[in-house]
């Protein structure tokens, strides 16, 4: 093909031996150059579709994505996004009516696969031998994948977009490749600048080998875009340059340096002594200001101009420190909230003795937010959202350092400071692991299971070790100092707790008998679900991220979502979720009654407890605090108190104690009823009726699978809709026999 693009008639893919699919982004396309293309497609193709009984396919996954998009609040979005969101809603209405008249088939899908892209690929691979297929999509990645698949299988699989006139526009191989390269460069440059998200990372990881294969398969020339290394000029520098200075990253693959050795020196300067300084660009002399403090490794003096000077003590003037600080200084890194060395300091004889760094403000986490008593004293007005802001501030810095291939190493609550404006400061930069210089110190509580027992100074930490410390720190910020592996029944051996990986906080339907006493479980209960998921999977030995921990970028994305969730009154329906110390579990649903406690007057202290038998909420008469300490007013009859019997056990769902004889599969009668009842909050995307039981949901969520979205996806059928007109004959086919996904696809392909 010599032309950059080819125009085809999409109607050819509506012939009996061919199939046409549409991806989500086509429905949400807002480009005026292509406006009206979908409408023209249906106008051109409807006769053929109906004649051949071969509707255009919009898989359930795509319908699901459109549904999700259409529910977003468009008011705060850009004009373009808001138009796209409106388009999604319009598309759903269109799909409904088009499927009723047989132009669209939207009941095909496989909900076990979270990605529509993969679904298309699976489908195309499976049926490439039987049919010629075409996918309409704007997604370059999937276009490349399908094109490559067609090449590999030697079959006709076409990917393209619609023109204004409803024609199928197909890119030539070279053009598709060049567009792929530009997409890659775009994501890569965001990562290089440190503003990348998880999506950028995954796109880069997918595109790099894909483009390489693509180029080889089609014998294409190298694109003008450079695939190797960091992109020289970022296309869109998003990060304000004032916060984090962009410098060349350090080498990530350096081998560990030979063991550290002490350096000789004539004297260590003190307050009032003249010293020499040398930054990346300049040098000079100055006099050490007043002594500000003494630490485990040296003394800190005022350096004037919002700087301080650390002078190491005699045991810490070492070769590693000198070389590491020279490396950091030489790179000229300046980043807000990080006390990175800016100049090497030498004594009067020119010997290395310390360094200059910016002054940190605020106080150590350990003395401010890692203890309820101190926290309430220091920051009495702070809410959960403020703690989430602290996590974000911390993560932005960690993300930047990681992009520079710096490993912080000894992340602990004494190396992090917080000021009353929620700015996080990272101190102790001279302990960071840079190139082959290890971080010689560590804190067991933040040490990964793999690193425990090793000598900090004699091993380089891996990024996984680092990400363990990052996860632990985030958990301890949100939980104001509680350790993730805290549980009952320990003998105080923290190393053992980390090694066993028994994260005891209640997660979904798991047993929680080891949860610590006190309000910690309520704090945990209110954490935003996606963050909770990440915590659980990172800390629990059976979690999916236990061996491959979330990166700073992933956490950043999750915590930013947590932040907007807390600010969104509709999504965050429980007013107690923004409390730092909630005193009850999170409310079940938006309609759960929430009341102040009549006993002690605490706000929102009582939330209704759903009772499936009565299909109503039971509202306790007093809050948890009043129940535990005895009411200040009149003691009610205590209807919920169970008689104490020796053979008692905790219900695995609600963890209240019950006589064993009342439990069924570890659940109390109420929870058994609940487990077997349909979740009223989840509606089938086809019939808009509840369709899946709580127990069944638990089965998916404990396996970290997406919960299915329709009757069809769990191999049940939609109940007949009482108000809507009777379904057409072809639609009722789908209702009769619950068939497996592939069986349904097959029968459809065979013309049923």
């Amino acid at each position: 093909m010599s032309a950059a693009v080819t125009l085809l008639d999409p109607v050819e893919f509506l012939q009996p031996n061919r199939r046409l699919f549409i991806d989500t982004n086509i429905f949400m396309d807002t480009d005026p150059r292509r406006a009206g293309g979908l409408k023209r497609l249906f106008e051109r193709g409807q006769g053929t579709i109906l004649k051949n009984g071969n509707p255009i396919v919009v898989p359930t996954k795509v319908v699901g994505e459109l549904t999700k998009q259409s529910r977003l609040d468009a008011s705060n979005e850009t004009e373009e996004r808001s138009e796209a969101i409106n388009k999604a809603a319009a598309a759903l209405t269109f799909l409904d009516s088009a499927s009723k008249v047989g132009l669209i088939r939207k009941d095909l899908g496989d909900d076990t696969n979270p990605y529509a892209d993969d679904l298309f690929l699976q489908l195309f691979e499976r049926f490439a031998g039987t049919y010629e297929m075409c996918l309409l999509t704007h997604d370059i990645t999937i276009k490349l994948r399908v094109r490559l698949l067609a090449h590999r299988l030697g079959k006709r699989l076409v990917v393209g977009v619609l023109t204004k006139d409803g024609e199928l526009q197909v890119d030539a191989d070279q053009m598709l490749f060049d567009r792929g390269m530009r997409k890659y460069a775009r994501h890569e440059s965001r990562l290089a600048e440190g503003s990348g998200t998880f999506k950028d990372e995954s796109e880069v990881a997918t595109l790099k080998p894909l483009l390489d294969d693509f180029r080889k398969a089609f014998r294409l020339r190298e694109s003008g875009v450079n695939l190797k290394g960091r992109v020289a000029k970022p296309l869109a520098p998003k990060r304000p340059a004032g916060d984090f200075h962009q410098a060349n990253p350090f080498t990530a693959a350096a081998k560990i340096k030979p063991r550290d050795t002490a350096l000789t020196f004539t004297s260590l300067p003190k307050e009032g002594d003249q010293v020499m300084w040398e930054s990346a660009a300049k040098g000079g002399k100055f006099v050490l200001g007043p002594l500000l403090g003494e630490g485990g490794e040296g003394s800190v003096y005022d350096g004037g101009d919002d700087t301080v000077v650390k002078i190491f003590d005699k045991d810490h003037v070492t070769q590693h420190r000198k070389e590491k600080i020279q490396l950091l200084v030489g790179r000229g890194i300046q980043a807000k909230g990080m006390c990175i060395p800016t100049a090497v300091v030498r004594n009067g004889d020119g010997e290395f003795v310390g360094y200059v760094m910016p002054k940190a403000s605020g106080r150590e986490f350990q003395r401010t937010i890692f203890n309820k008593r101190k926290f309430e004293k220091e920051f009495p007005t702070w809410k959960k959202a403020d703690l989430v802001d602290i996590c974000i501030s911390f993560l932005e810095k960690v993300q930047y350092l990681h992009s520079m291939n710096i490993i912080l190493g000894d992340i602990n609550p004494k190396n992090l400071m917080i000021d009353n404006k929620k700015n996080v400061f990272i101190i102790d930069a001279d302990s960071w692991q840079v190139e082959g210089y290890p971080c010689p110190v560590g804190t067991p509580m933040f040490t990964s299971p793999a690193m425990l027992g090793k000598a900090y100074a004699e091993d380089l930490r891996t990024m996984e070790d680092e990400l363990f410390a990052v996860a632990t720190m985030l958990f301890m910020i949100v939980m104001t100092g509680q350790f993730p592996y805290i549980r009952t029944g320990t003998d105080g051996d923290m190393v053992q707790l980390i090694k066993e990986g028994n994260f005891a906080f209640q997660y979904e339907n798991r047993n929680n008998k080891d949860q610590p006493d006190g309000d910690w479980k309520y704090m945990w209960s209110h954490i935003h679900k996606p963050v909770k998921d990440l915590f659980w999977h990172t800390f629990h030995k059976e979690g999916k991220r236990y061996a491959k921990r979330p990166t700073a970028t992933e956490w950043l994305e999750a915590f930013r979502a947590y932040r907007s969730y807390l600010g969104d009154k509709r999504a965050n329906f429980d007013p107690m979720s923004n409390d730092v110390y909630p005193i009850r579990n999170k409310a079940f649903r938006p309609d759960t009654p929430i009341q102040d406690c009549p006993g002690c007057g605490r706000k929102n202290a009582i939330a209704g407890i759903w009772n499936d038998a009565s299909e109503d909420y039971f509202v306790p008469r007093q809050c948890n605090k009043c129940r535990a300490t005895g009411p200040q007013t009149v003691r009610p009859a205590g209807p919920r108190r169970m008689p104490t019997t020796p053979a008692a056990a905790d219900c695995k769902d609600c963890s209240k104690s019950f006589p064993k004889s009342q439990l069924t599969y570890g659940r109390c009668p109420t929870c058994t009823t609940k487990a077997n009842s349909l979740d009223p909050g989840r509606l089938c995307i086809d019939c808009r009726q509840p369709f899946i039981t709580h127990d069944h949901i638990g089965w998916f969520t404990t396996r970290f699978l997406d919960v299915p979205k329709s009757h069809a996806a769990i191999k049940t059928t939609c109940p007949p809709a009482p108000t809507s007109p009777r379904r057409s004959a072809s639609a009722s086919n789908a209702q009769q026999a619950p068939m497996g996904f592939w069986a349904r696809v097959k029968s459809w392909f065979q013309g049923n």
Binding site: F370, N371, K372, P444, G481, T488, G489, M494, P516, D517
Partner: protein, 224 residues
């Protein structure tokens, strides 16, 4: 006497790992007069120092066991916030050291069980044994328990002799790895200052870490 309120919230709301310290004190008749007064002053000073230290404040939990003709709990474990200072201790009777140490160990075990049952992290406990004489009861079981715990790294013990009459040989049996210390005169103040600093030092470490005690700091009050 010391008074305290037992509060469960106090125990579980604080995520800081605890250092339980049991002060096992000889209040036999020979301690009467200035020794017991100095001891009370020293203990209160210890409490003050713990209270003032940012780290030890949240970590240390202290109880006092006294022994004379029998053993008794002066007050059970509590955080420093809940501890009132002791006003006096009465000195009379014999020196039931075995019973005193056993009671102190029992109280430590009970406290550890409380930590474990509530989900509170802790450091292995400390036992401070102070006497000015020799035991008048059987100490064999108490010695064995202490030695076993110390060997298993589940207890740090500080046997302290008060004055010239203290039976250092007996005290040595309670401390398999470190010789007992004799208090220089009635320098309780210096000893308790040192003790509070050591508790603070431990509470700045992580449970499971080996904490180096600052033994040089002992020179002021002890003669070996």
């Amino acid at each position: 006497m010391a008074r305290l309120d037992i509060g469960a919230d106090d125990l579980i709301d604080n995520p800081t790992p605890r250092v339980p310290v049991s002060l096992c004190l000889d209040t036999s008749s020979s301690m009467g007069g200035s020794p017991i007064q100095e001891l009370v002053r020293g203990v209160n000073l210890f409490y003050d120092a713990i209270d003032e230290d940012d780290d030890a404040h949240d970590s240390a939990e202290i109880n006092i066991v006294e022994f004379n003709s029998s053993a008794a709990l002066v007050h059970d474990f509590a955080s420093i916030e809940r501890l009132q200072r002791i006003t006096s201790l009465a000195a009379n009777g014999l020196t039931a050291m075995g019973a005193g140490v056993n009671l102190a160990l029992d109280s430590l075990e009970k406290r550890k069980a409380t930590y474990s049952g509530s989900g509170v992290l802790y450091y292995q406990p400390w036992l401070v044994l102070m006497t000015d004489g020799a035991p008048t009861d059987n100490i064999e079981s108490a010695v064995k328990r202490v030695v076993d715990l110390v060997d298993a790294k589940k207890l740090t013990v500080f046997p302290i002799g008060i004055g010239a009459g203290a039976d250092m040989k007996t005290l040595a049996r309670f401390s398999p790895h470190r010789p007992p210390l004799r208090l220089d005169g009635l320098k309780f103040k210096e000893f308790f200052e040192w003790l509070s600093k050591s508790v603070a030092r431990v509470s700045r470490s992580t449970p499971g870490d080996t904490v180096k005690l600052d033994l040089e700091g002992l020179a002021g009050w002890a003669e070996l």
